[in-house]
């Protein structure tokens, strides 16, 4: 296989690994945050506004780590810089 094929194979496998491993941590964290927020809501229903708002903010911040992995996976598949490098190396 030439260099471009190798780059494509490695990119696709790495993108899958990135998104799968990178979503495990945020998934656990979001579940934990949601369950803790539910416990807090059950104990203090009066503070539901603050708890819900804080929950949304923290969920989005936890989710952003998964989003970083998603961005990396998208870059690997659609905008891989090494593809152009290999094409330039093969062309001249």
């Amino acid at each position: 296989m030439d260099a471009a094929t190798w780059i494509a194979v490695v990119s696709i496998i790495t993108a899958g690994l990135t998104i799968s491993i990178g979503s495990i941590g945020p998934a656990f964290a979001e579940g934990r945050a949601a369950s803790q927020a539910l416990v807090a809501l059950a104990q203090q229903p009066d503070a539901s506004n603050t708890i819900t708002r804080t929950l949304f903010v923290s969920l989005a911040m936890i989710e952003s780590t998964a989003i970083y992995c998603f961005v990396i996976a998208m870059i690997l598949i659609f905008a891989n810089p090494f593809v152009e490098y290999a094409a330039a190396a093969a062309g001249g």
Partner: protein, 238 residues
């Protein structure tokens, strides 16, 4: 698939490339400016208040209350900057209900520009409030050994701000595009609805995080913190 609105050239005029990001940013700016101008041209404090004025008042007082909850005594100082950030991002994300529109926040250049605005605004607000020396001493807290880490934190949180907003908006567009080729008609609509919700939440988070950074840099004393992650909850508890 085209995941970047920067490469979508709408207009090519004498070598000036007007891409989708620039055009739609102008569109969002025009919507915001014309709407605010139309509404504020007919403000009244009498009995007959137009419903548009009520809407504007709700938005402005809501942003003001949120800024005050982050822990500053003078929300009016930060209202123009934070409010502009929130309104621009929220409008840019909500306008995705218009067919053919691509949110300019789905481009890394837009979100980087917004994050750099925050990076510049943090020292500006802090220096005008407590002076240059006090601001620079903030980098030496809690001990001078933390100086490189504090400088590093400035850079990483700017990158994190930019990539968070970009990734969320871009992922909505990309997932809708992928689903269009797999399961058309129904699931893309659901993902678009979810994208509207995420877009609003991301606008809120961007504004709140910018306010938290400004507040933590402007606040002297033992409450001074540099860790960006747990700050919203901690500040809202105060």
């Amino acid at each position: 698939m085209d995941i970047n609105p920067d490469t979508w050239i709408l207009l090519d005029w004498n070598g000036w490339h007007i891409n989708a990001t620039i055009a739609f940013t102008w569109g969002v700016m025009a919507v915001l400016v014309v709407a605010s101008w139309l509404i504020t041209a007919r403000l009244s404090d009498g009995e007959n208040v137009s419903r548009w004025q009520v809407m504007l008042e709700v938005i402005v007082t809501g942003i003001r209350d949120q800024i005050a909850e982050v822990g500053t005594e003078t929300p009016g100082r930060y209202l123009p900057f934070i409010g502009t950030l929130f309104l621009f991002i929220a409008t840019a994300n909500i306008l995705t209900i218009i067919p053919g529109y691509r949110p300019p926040t789905g481009s890394l250049s837009t979100t980087s520009a917004l994050a750099i605005c925050v990076l510049i605004a943090v020292p500006l607000f802090s220096i005008t409030q407590q002076g240059l020396g006090s601001y620079l001493r903030g980098y030496l807290r809690p001990s001078p050994f933390m100086l490189p880490f504090n400088i590093l934190a400035e850079a990483t949180r700017t990158i994190a701000l930019a990539v968070r907003l970009y990734g969320n908006v871009m992922s909505g567009t990309v997932i809708a595009g992928i689903l269009l080729s797999i399961a058309p008609f129904f699931f893309p609509v659901l993902m678009q609805l979810l994208g509207l919700l995420t877009g609003l939440i991301q606008a809120y988070i961007f504004a709140v995080l910018a306010m938290v950074y400004i507040a933590s840099a402007s606040r002297a004393g033992p409450h001074h913190t540099h860790d960006p992650a747990p700050e919203p909850s901690r500040n809202e508890g105060e």
